[in-house]
Symmetry: C2
Subunit: 481 residues, 2 copies
């Protein structure tokens, strides 16, 4: 048993704790290729759940999945200048096919705007073809040079990228906000992580966008994590890739476009926000195993009756579509199993020993609070269903408390610097709107503007850095992943 | 309207017909990157349906999905010599990340045995960790130099690859056959394409396998298409990647492995087997739209009542989870819509005009037979449900008839050569088992051994080529894609 549990405390060395949880709970592993990871089944199951929920939401609103090549000609990337400048430094290049050098090197997609919109320009002819709402689930490559962080910073990751084309600026605007709110609902509802939403500052926007909206969360170490983005591309790409339609007015118009995405880094956020010193805690709505049942045949007493009863309990839970594992392996002790499934974050453990058998009950143990609850046999299903929801709610509430705790309103720059060093987190501060103040704050403190709320908060009207009028309103600064 | 329908007859120029159907039914498109395709939503939806069914089957048997890096170090590929020789000629190589040349070039996965088994060697410790049954859905790259054929031969395609490790040779054997039969069921049941199953000859087996089993179908042009493979890898890779476990006997053993896969080429097979001169015919079980409803407001008569009634019909069908589209666009005529949805292969068209309204009925038109069926309103749901199954069954039966028609038993080599030139298809012929005869037949006729049936058919006992004893039994030859 020794060596298999998490040995680092979350509040002592957060970053080592994270790596241990990811590796020991078998969520991911370092691949033999530098900078790359393997997503193991328990984490991939979380991604599949995210896919299921997002697919349901995008399909029911008329978006359709498709698949575009991952190879992008260099010339395509170059067409939108800001886009090229933003992505080229971290592009992986294919230069050889079989034994033959390629005439034009090919980028492995760092994002798919260019290759998709080249196709859009062929497919879109008239207003009847709009809106065009396409989504793609795929792998993405960005040749990171900073240290690898499983789920958070790897050279290859998985994502979903929505790409839409609309007849009007208003339609594109609506789509950008629709995607943002869709993500907020998914992340808060199934991953139990509260997010802030708003726009990015110019310096942080997507390379090639008109503007970028985003979702940001705070991690327990006080650093912000970008949870997803939704970009209004305006007509920038449409003009470069010639994506036009003939309107009802019989005239040519450029389309208005959006793109939006979330990635497997959400799994990293889930681990960081919810885990504890025993390991992972899976939000019930994404848990590949929601209930683990462990028979406890004390000194062999009643072993057969206990085996039969645990099987019965497993079956009635499965019949209710509750993901249930009966861990009846004889080669491990109950204590070993407790640790194993706590490490893996299973929301509810059900124990059944000789005394429980006699009393017609089981004992349920909540992973999030450790609370032990004796439950009469007849109430098992109802209690599990209630508990799963309660755990989900409790986890979200706890994460909300973390967000509140890690958010500080400051009124002057000394306070700003003090807070960023002492507790980190989101710092709410008024900003003049000048990119120079933003840049200087970044140099001084490492903090950047993570989010500018949609509703401008003008309760503080002096820029925290330059003391000029805070035309930008109160914004959220933080150091970030 | 002109120019949007299929202009080539299937039996006049099959290969041009295929390209027209794929492009005009908007299933795929040529990408701006040579050799690559875009999988458009209607075809991607078929892939998603295949994923759903396969996922259900693999998960319910204890397989789990995961994701491994698509980059494979050159040294890995080289470790299994036959594997390297088989795949290197068609590998795409990454040689540069950002502006920096890589120290060791990286292959984009042509298949994932090597990178997966390197991880398996870390994860598998004891007999308790077996069997390990992992599956991955991903993109695959093989740098084809032959002409691109949408879905059938592109440099990037999508697939699923199952990879398992077992304690015994017997367990691996069982897994190989399980996967093969699982594929047979999926392909016959949902794509309505009958397949032959059996083993590949040595010359056609997977590079690195002990032996390869496969599924083969015949296309209307008489060429065979490999529909999937399931490989017994024996201990070849285990020895090279050191995948060992400690047995209950406390000793070290190499694992026994399998791998198996199907790809997006199945969509190409579906198009080829079922399409007709009007375009695609979608098997109901994979059709993204199963029923299209077209209101026919003749000269504007009863337009509002017809609109209301068609909406009502659409709703009752959707309530039964039947994928239903109400095409009430006013900018197109009913005739244009008929052609459009026939081209796209929607299994059932429901028409509703003034007379139908008066008679309390709709008219259903089967895409596969063109049969028109007046149906009383009260019977709409039951009739659609029956028709969908009947169409599915009829399509499979028709494809089976094609397979039978395209299969010829020959007894001598002259007959063999005559049949391969005149009608193609599968040629059943006795074979001595000598790879030299196989090779010479290939040189002469272009035909290879597609399948050696599991049950040896010894009713002909003289090799069709050399007249020696037919130790290989009767096998299936064909020219192939």
């Amino acid at each position: 048993m020794s060596g298999t549990g998490v040995t680092v405390k979350k509040n002592v060395n957060f970053s080592e704790w994270y790596v241990e949880v990811v590796l020991k709970a078998e969520l991911a592993d370092y691949a033999p290729v530098k900078g790359c990871m393997v997503i193991r089944p328990d984490a991939y199951a979380v991604w599949e759940k995210i896919q299921e929920v997002v697919n349901q939401k995008i399909k029911s609103t008329g978006h359709r999945n498709a698949y575009f090549p991952m190879f992008i000609p260099e010339a395509f990337l170059k067409q939108e200048a800001a886009h090229f400048a933003g992505f080229t430094p971290e592009v992986a290049w294919i230069t050889q096919g079989g034994d033959t050098p390629l005439e034009e090197k090919l980028a492995v997609r760092p994002t798919s705007e260019t290759i998709m919109y080249d196709m859009f320009s062929k497919w879109i002819r008239s207003w009847r073809d709009l809106p065009l709402k396409i989504n793609q689930w795929c792998n993405i490559v960005r040749w990171e040079t900073k240290a690898t962080k499983l789920f958070l910073r790897t050279r290859e990751f998985l994502w979903q990228e929505g790409h839409t084309a609309h007849a009007t600026a208003e339609d594109a605007e609506v789509e950008v906000i629709w995607a943002l709110n869709m993500y907020k609902e998914v992340i808060e509802n199934i991953l139990a992580i509260p997010v802030l939403i708003g726009t990015k500052s110019e310096s942080e926007k997507f390379a090639g966008a008109l503007y970028t909206t985003a979702l940001e969360s705070i991690m327990p170490d006080g650093k912000a994590l970008q949870m997803g983005t939704s970009h209004n591309l305006g007509q920038h790409f449409a003009k470069v890739f010639n994506v036009k339609y003939i309107g009802e007015d019989k005239k040519d118009h450029y389309v208005w476009q959006t793109s939006w995405g979330i990635t497997t880094r959400l799994i990293g956020a889930m681990i960081m926000v919810h885990g504890d010193d025993k390991g992972l805690i899976m939000p019930p709505k994404v848990a590949p195993i929601q209930v683990v049942i462990i028979p406890i045949p004390f000194k062999g007493l009643e072993a057969e009756a206990i085996a039969a009863k645990t099987k019965e309990v497993a079956e009635i839970l499965r019949a209710k579509s509750i993901n249930t594992l009966l861990d009846d392996r004889s080669e491990y002790t109950p204590g070993w199993k407790f640790n194993q499934w706590e490490l893996k974050g299973v929301p509810i453990r059900v124990e059944l020993g000789p005394r429980d058998l006699k009393n017609g009950q089981v004992v349920m143990v909540r992973r999030d609070t450790g609370q032990k609850i004796p439950v009469k046999e007849a109430n098992v299903v109802a209690t599990v269903e209630n508990l799963l929801q309660e755990i989900q709610d409790t986890m979200l509430a706890k994460a909300k408390a973390l967000l509140d705790d890690k958010t500080t309103l400051v009124t002057n720059y000394d306070e700003f610097k003090h807070v960023i060093e002492s507790k980190g987190g989101f710092i709410k501060a008024a900003w003049c709107g000048n990119p120079e103040c933003e840049a200087r704050i970044k140099v001084d403190t490492g903090a950047t503007i993570r989010i500018r709320p949609f509703e401008k908060d003008t309760t503080k009207n002096i820029c925290v850095y330059c003391n000029n009028e805070a035309k930008g309103g109160i914004v959220y600064f933080a150091r970030s992943y």
